[in-house]
Amino acid sequence: MSRKRIVILGGGTGGTMTANRLRRRFDLDEAEIHVVDRDDRHVYQPGLLFVPFGLTEARAIVRARRAQLRDGIVFHEAEIAGIELDREEVVLAGGEVIPYDALVVASGARLQPEETEGLTGPGWNERVFTFYTPEGAEALHAALARFEGGRIVVNLVDMPIKCPVAPLEFAFLADWHLRERGLRSRTELAYVTPLDGAFTKPAASAHLAGLLAEKEIELVTEFNAGEVDGGGGTLTSYDGRALDFDLLVTVPLHGGAPFLGSAPGLTDALGFVPTDKGTLRTAAQPNVFALGDATDLPTSKAGSVTHFQAEILSENIVRFLAGRELEQGFDGHANCFIETGFHKALLIDFNYDTEPLPGRFPGAFGLPLLRESRLNHLGKLAFEWVYWHALLPGHDIPGIGPAMPTRGKEIPVHAGARSTR
């Protein structure tokens, strides 16, 4: 077999795990592996949630991308000028052309605050913030430190977003933070969502709505944010409802990486890549695959999902280059810790067909599911070490595989199969 070349667009969670896994699967004379990213800053994104509360600092959660890649992987720090699907080439901004035998799109999701009227206008990073970037999270930290009471609105503009539970976690942690500082009685907290409940999946949504009520956080549903007036402190929905705020914490609209638009047929209207639910091959070309936040898959945009995908994607790249049939292995498995404050967290585990259910993970003696516990909070903290030292290098974690476990879960007789697509 002549030497193949695999090109991976993006050196984040998905791209790094895939590159490292493939580097172990192929000898150096069997395949070249290239990773392209526009910068050399790998952010541990779950850590962003803690920055506004001073529980960590932005610089503590950023490391060099190239340092996470195994020897024998070529890293290109460059913007991508275009993708030529027919010629099987990636063109870098400097003019360099990289031909590929297999292409992996792992370019994640980009924030698009400018898509919402007024969001980046007056007040942006003064009383209107997002904690989805290291800079935004730091700015919000400074603003919270100055905060002495008032009305805080937490809003997600529209789905899909990365880590759909993060804005809820922010609200829970803000409640805790304000109570610790003795400011809670002088502060109104509102959680404002375009969804018709606290979360997308019924059992988890009901449980999380209960937690919001317990913590005296107002829940405003079916609110599609149309306009932000940062100067006046008003958030207005498309149907004309207006909410006042002293501090707005927003999760802006998300879209795919703009350079993907240079390849006709690769993305949908929002810039995400239509991808096969089971094999992770794109609809565009047989030798183009995608994983993580960049895809249009009906599962959470989250690192855990990307981790489960990376295992299947790597296997399918090996199979594709050997001319073998692909594995239909991905079941939509997602697994998320939800910080609820006071040193506690919930854990939810679900896939395409099974909503988050109570029970234990990954089996009868594991972590409690859909229930607040200290153990889950410790699990979330420990996860940062696991991320840098086991997930990114592409090691398997004993007992936690890509397929969603059903043992340990309390599965109702009538539930289970609920097709999402």
């Binding site: 789905m159 149309g226 498309y238 149907d239 009906p298 959470s300 997602a334």
Partner: protein
């Protein structure tokens, strides 16, 4: 799921009144559902959105979100709210005889 009579036709609907079988739908049913939900007359702009929703659902098994609807149907989000007050994506889906949009995950 219950059977109900809309515009002289018996159709199956869920608890919130969304048709569960899109093949039972016709234009008269659409007009009846619209009238019941505060839209006395369906204009060409309404029909453009309803047909777009329905075609997309039949082709992909998923109804588009309000945001993709605004980007792809040619009708901007603000106008969608004017045409289908309060909950455009849901209301257009209901009128188009398809299941309630599930939203994203």
């Amino acid at each position: 799921m219950t059977a109900t009579l809309i515009a002289h036709a018996t159709v199956d609907v869920d608890a919130e009144g969304f048709l569960t079988d899109p093949t039972q739908w016709n234009e008269e049913i659409a007009e009846a559902i619209a009238a019941e939900n505060g839209i006395p007359e369906l204009t060409d702009r309404h029909w453009l959105v309803v047909r777009f929703m329905r075609d997309r659902y039949l082709a992909t098994g998923n109804a588009p979100s309000i945001r993709s609807l605004g980007k792809e149907s040619g009708v901007p989000v603000k106008e969608l709210y004017a045409l289908f007050p309060t909950r455009p994506a849901k209301l257009a889906a209901k009128i188009g005889g398809i299941r309630k949009p599930t939203g994203c995950i």
